[in-house]
Amino acid sequence: MSAQLKVMVIDDEPIVGKRLGPALEKMGCQTETFVDPAAALGRLAECEFDVVVTDVRMDEVDGIGVLERVKALSKRTKVIMITGYATLEVAHEALAKGAFDFIAKPFKPEDLRQAVARAAEALGIQGPGAAASQA
Amino acid sequence: MQGPITDLFINIDLYSALQVVVLGFIGGVLSGFIGSGGAFFMTPGMMNLGVEGVIAVASNITHKFGKAMVGSHKHGEMGNVDKKLAMYLLLTAAAGIRLAVWISSFLFESGDTHGADKGAGANLYISLVFVSILTAVALSMLKDVLGKKNDGGAGPSRKMVETLARLNLKPLIYFKVADVSVSLWVLLLVGLATGYLAGTIGVGGFIGVPAMIYIFGIPTAVAAGTELYLAMFMGAFGALNYAFAGYVDLRLTMLLYLGSLVGVHLGVYGVKVVNEKVIRLVTGVIILLCVFSRAVAIPVYLRQMEMLNIAASWDGWLNGASKALLFASGLAGTGIIMVNVIKAYRQRLRLKRTIAYSSQPAEQH
């Protein structure tokens, strides 16, 4: 299966999307980045993504909210939480609500790529993700 | 009570007792350090005091038996005794000794009709073997030590070991403690040769230790430890025979212990603290001096066999020189060892003191 992995990145800091977008495209993902979580949720309603990468702390809708919404829309979508304010409490809440992975900032793009590759693997997608994880 | 016993055993006064103790000490240091070498020194030393040759040998071998037990135990604790190797060598060496005894007695018997000089042929043969073999051993040892730069790894030359390894003569036997594999055939050959030389010239350790180092590639310390272990069995055999014959002077044996058991500790300590190069240097020097000692006696045998034309009055001088060289070798060897041991001891003592009483605790967190 050679379909491109569809990944959405949500972070209210524009720089995060700017840096992560290319990093994920490098491994062959089709990536859309959002600064506004509400807009992102709108897009999610239109189209199913394989992986959603979201910040936890955002003003309008927080990451947990995004997670709940994504899971409600599409059970199979994997959600990876990224945050600079990780605590065990938040992390366990996210995991209890179905988050796939939890990454603390600061991190290297490679860390995220690995998490995305694992998500692709969990989805049964042998493709860019799997290849990238071995690269 | 003074009976026929006094003909056999000497009267020991305090002075001669002290001399025996000193002999024991030197023999102990040497054997603890090199793994052999006590006998060549102590036996003639006691004979100098007027002890009958056979009594000296018997008391010495009995003493060696007990001391080898203590010494090899110490070496064993430090991981220097390969019992498996010792057993192989013991069996093959026993065969070698039989061979040597057979050759020597053949020469002795056929030593023609010259009556008083009957043993000269055998003596000459023994001395020649002694001189040639030990010269080779000592020189190769010294060359190995002196020919190397300080940094170039102080390990003994492995040329012979590697050549043999390339031949790969199966079956190979692995020795766990020494951590080497040796071909069975090489083992048999060396054991036989060692036994033969031990039986001929009476100093098996001088051959066995270098053979183990250079032919088997065994670390020096293990060679020494294993040799001491071997000596325990050989000593036991000798002690049984001589005790049965009634030649053991228990007093001499015990006096030897007073010195040798102190010496052997220092010798073993020396192996631990003195570096491998010095060990081999000392061993080489001692062997070489022994060789000289025997070499100066060769003209005597030659004259006795009428192969050399010198005055018979020289015999005394040459024998004296031979003896002196022997003592010189023992004293020199012990001297070098003791200097090194004391140096190392003081260094370590200072270190331990520094550690024990260094400056007051610095609060760290």
Partner: protein, 509 residues
């Protein structure tokens, strides 16, 4: 003035109690969550620590510096609060461990009512019963691991507490009242000693925090301590060039009578194939290092042909995930760092874990892996001649015990001979009680036996020699032979033991 610290794994329970208590005492209430927030804003990525605990796969050793920065930040923040307010109530996970040795701190352990907690969790997080239970269980486990990771003690250990309150049996109100009346007890009054202890703790924490924040000193792994207002910073010899920055950074430290900057005088080189921070060797080495004010450099010696690749930790840099941290606002990356070629983390024989412990003790002087033997060690030591002692630990582990003993000794001898440094084996370090009363009495016993035997033999020398020398019958000969070959080893054994102990006493070992 009262400082109350409430510890509980359940955040909502401790928050409720602390707030009600602060109101009763008329003081300020602070929480771990607030301090974590401040720390993160100040550029300490505390989240990394949390996630490291969450994902047990992360090598925690790499977070040593971050951990120390977090702890000094929290401690110094607590100190600031305590100095600004008359009464302080702090609540957090294992907060009881934050201000050790200060007697006017009341440490409370709060056990939450499980049933009530479950209901609250279900409501607050919108989870069903099973998921809420699961959530609580996992969180509890992780908090326990976190406590172990951060403080090295077990969360259930009650040693550090003054009082345990179980909310299953009392209301929040009563709990707060109980603590309130406890705070009035004379035992928890300030004393000059407790004030001084708190002051020193705070001073050291502030100094550590300042040093950790500053770019110049952030990655130096310094030993910081304070006593009676005197701050001592110990740095490693290899940091001598950067050391002047320490005083510069600490110039802004308030409340210090004096700042002393000392170089750890020397380095101990610890040579071993494997390291373990819990081993007796570790205790011996660190004890020695502390006494000497020395840093410990680890050198992992592996056989030349070993499979694992040499890993070089030239400094502590690679042990810590985060280098010197800059305030978040100034972070242009949004928390996304650049990719760095990461080396495969080979099996490191406990090097990283031991390094981490040394860092936390302020004794770490570097670590690396070296393949080879004596020659390589000598070359390595010669290239950086700043050691004062080399300690040879467990080397040549793949060999049998006898070979190992010998090879270790040979290695020590080889190194001693080529460098003018003292080299010790682990036996030297462990040999504390070399010679006790027991050994003395044994030595006396053996010596006495030997003296008696010699006296007897030499008193009856002629009868004995006659018996040995001229026995009559075969039976007599056999008896004499057996007597000799059994008596002689006995003498050798007794006298050998006596001299052996004598040499042990003289430390000829």
């Amino acid at each position: 003035m009262a400082i109350v610290i409430v510890s509980s794994a359940i955040e909502s329970a401790r928050r409720e109690l602390a707030q009600s208590l602060a109101a009763k005492l008329g003081g300020v209430c602070a929480s771990r969550e607030q301090l974590v927030e401040q720390a993160t804003l100040a550029g300490i990525p505390v989240g990394k620590l949390e996630v490291a605990v969450l994902k047990q796969s992360t090598p925690r050793e790499r977070l040593a510096r971050l951990k120390s920065r977090y702890l000094s930040f929290v401690t110094s923040a607590l100190c600031d609060l305590a100095s600004q307010h008359r009464n302080l109530v702090y609540h957090g996970r294992a907060g009881n461990l934050l201000l050790p040795g200060v007697s006017h701190v009341i440490r409370i352990r709060l056990l939450a009512d499980n049933e009530r907690q479950l209901q609250q969790t279900m409501a607050a997080l919108n989870l069903d019963l099973d998921k809420a239970k699961d959530y609580q269980r996992r969180l509890k486990e992780d908090v326990a691991r976190w406590v172990h990771f951060m403080h090295g003690t077990e969360v259930d250990s009650l040693n550090g507490y003054d009082l345990v309150l179980n909310l299953a049996h009392m209301s929040m109100e009563s709990a707060a009242a109980a603590i309130c009346s406890m705070a009035q007890l004379p035992d928890f009054n300030e004393t000059p000693a407790s004030v001084r202890a708190l002051g020193d703790l705070c001073l050291a924490a502030r100094a550590r925090d300042l040093l950790g924040r500053d770019e110049r000193t952030g990655d130096m792994d310094l030993g910081v301590s304070a006593q009676d207002g005197r701050v001592t910073v110990t740095y490693m010899p290899q940091q001598a060039d950067e050391a002047p920055a320490i005083s510069a950074v600490l110039a802004s430290l308030q409340g210090a009578r004096e700042v002393v900057c000392t170089m750890a005088l020397t380095n101990l080189l610890w040579l071993s194939e494997s390291f373990a921070p819990d081993s007796p060797d570790f205790a011996h080495v660190t004890e020695l290092a502390q006494r000497w004010g020395a840093a410990v450099e680890l050198m992992r010696l592996v056989p030349q042909d070993a499979d694992d690749q040499p890993v070089c930790l030239a400094s502590a840099d690679e042990l810590t995930a985060a280098g010197p941290c800059r305030p978040k606002e100034a972070d242009p990356t949004g928390g996304i760092e650049d990719d760095v070629e990461s080396k495969p983390s080979a099996v490191d024989g406990g090097l990283a874990a031991t390094a981490e412990r040394l860092i936390s003790l302020g004794l770490f002087g570097g670590g690396r892996t070296l393949a080879g033997g004596g020659q390589e060690v000598v070359a390595a030591i010669k290239s950086a001649p700043r050691y004062s002692l080399v300690m040879v630990g467990d080397v040549f582990m793949s060999k049998g015990p006898a070979v190992r003993t010998r090879l270790s000794r040979d290695l020590a001898a080889y190194v001693t001979e080529r460098i003018t440094l003292p080299v010790m084996s682990k036996e030297d370090l462990q040999a504390k009680v070399v010679f006790g009363a027991k050994q003395f009495s044994r030595m006396a016993l053996y010596t006495a036996l030997v003296v008696v035997i010699y006296l007897v033999v030499f008193s009856f020398q002629w009868p004995i020699q006659e018996f040995l020398g001229s026995p009559g019958s075969l039976a007599m000969k056999v008896v004499a032979t057996i007597a000799v070959v059994s008596f002689v080893p006995l003498v050798a054994y007794l006298f050998g033991n006596s001299t052996g102990l004598l040499f042990k006493w003289l430390r000829f070992e």
